[in-house]
């Protein structure tokens, strides 16, 4: 170790608070004074120094998420709000349509054993008159059969003109062997009570 190296080492040791008694006295005094000055300056800096606390860490997390470098918490990743909105919309549509239907009501809207299209109407006779007028104008000759419970069944050939007319009435019947069957039914007494 050269004299200069030794001098450096002794001065730096004194700066670190471990002065060598054998070292140059002036050097030790200077290093000790500098140590006190550095400590005072450190205290001054610490007074204004921001703290690396949880709040600052949260800001960092936010920035990392914003830059796509960190995933948001799981609960934020789930499409909870979208799901909730969809469920709410679905529920409101069901309510507008008259609520949930029981199993016994399920086949009253569409289909059935004879694969007829069932239309729930308040006054089947009045609706029959309207439909017959339209169907006859379309060239059809419907067979009308009155059934129990106030139901009226219409059966006719499923010609394009007939289907066009029914479509204009927002009725899309099922064609079975070229035939169209419609049943006009009043709402059940149970349904009316609701």
């Amino acid at each position: 170790m050269t004299t200069e190296d030794l001098s450096d080492a002794q001065w730096l040791a004194a700066l670190a608070g471990q002065a060598d008694p054998a070292a140059d006295k002036a050097g030790n005094l200077q290093a000790a004074a500098l140590r006190r000055a550095l400590q005072a300056r450190r205290q001054q800096i610490e007074q204004d120094l921001p703290q690396a606390d949880a709040a600052l860490f949260q800001q960092l997390q936010f920035r990392l998420r914003r830059e796509g470098l960190m995933k948001p918490p799981l609960w934020q990743q789930l499409p909870v709000w979208g799901l909730a909105a969809s469920l709410l919309l679905g529920a409101s549509v069901l309510l507008q349509q008259g609520g949930w239907l029981g199993a016994e009501d399920a086949d009253r809207l569409r289909g059935g054993s004879d694969q007829a299209t069932m239309l729930l109407v308040n006054d089947p006779e009045a609706r029959l008159v309207e439909l017959l007028a339209g169907l006859r104008a379309a060239g059809a000759s419907p067979q009308v059969e009155r059934q129990a419970g106030g139901r009226i069944k219409l059966q006719m050939a499923g010609d394009p003109a007939v289907l066009d007319y029914l479509a204009s009435q927002r009725i899309e019947p099922q064609l079975v062997q070229g035939q169209v069957s419609l049943i006009l039914s009043p709402p059940s007494a149970k349904a009316l009570q609701k």
Binding site: E4, D5, D8, W11, L12, L15, A16, G17, Q18, A26, L29, Q30, A33, L34, R35, R36, A37, L38, Q39, A40, R41, R42, I45, E46, D48, L49, P50, Q51, A52, L56, F57, Q59, L60, Q61, R63, L64, E67, L69, M70, K71
Partner: protein, 192 residues
């Protein structure tokens, strides 16, 4: 979790990354804030530079190839972010000039003492005044002298300033020389 493991976990992503970022933050953030403040950054600026540093570490963790100390790599990013910040704010100035060693003695002789010291001024006040001027002129060197004052090993100081052990020894020696024009005259007060 040491620095190398932290970088590996950041590369893995997901929860490992979250945990690694948290560990890194609570291990290094306060020291980095102190470093930025000691280099002249205000409290708000130090927060911004810290955030930039952390983001850059996460973004470039994959580029760490394992050569050299991970801690030195982290601090290299911190120093670069500080430099970028100063450059962006047009406040960057090359405060330190390269001095040819042979010319150093001449510079010491021709550099006037930055503070007028009277006999009434005690050595502590004189050195504190000299240190304040030195810190403003060469903040990184003042910071390194602070690390030495803390009793850090040469290796630990080297990791923070991105130098090898030998280069750090030389840097500390240079720091001693460079502060002399600012405080050497203070010792004379002892004889008064």
């Amino acid at each position: 979790m040491d620095e190398e493991e932290i970088i590996k976990c950041i590369c893995i992503g997901g929860r490992s990354r979250d945990a690694a970022v948290k560990t890194l933050y609570y291990d290094q953030a306060q020291t980095m804030l102190r470093f930025f403040a000691s280099q002249g950054a205000s409290a708000d600026e130090a927060r911004d530079i810290l955030q930039n540093t952390m983001v850059k570490i996460v973004r470039s963790a994959a580029s760490f190839n394992g050569d050299g100390a991970a801690k030195a790599w982290l601090w290299q990013i911190a120093r670069n972010c500080l430099l970028d910040f100063h450059q962006q704010n047009s406040r960057m100035s090359r405060r330190e000039v390269t001095v040819i060693p042979e010319k150093w003695a001449e510079l010491v002789e021709t550099t006037a003492a930055p503070q007028v010291c009277s006999a009434a001024m005690d050595i502590d006040a004189c050195v504190a005044a000299g240190l304040a001027t030195f810190s403003a002129a060469m903040p990184e060197r003042a910071f390194v002298l602070g690390l030495q004052m803390d009793g850090l090993s040469i290796d630990a100081i080297g990791q923070q300033i991105g130098r090898s052990i030998a280069a750090t020894k030389e840097y500390l020696s240079q720091c001693r020389k460079k502060i002399q024009p600012f405080i050497a005259h203070c010792v004379d007060l002892l004889s008064n």
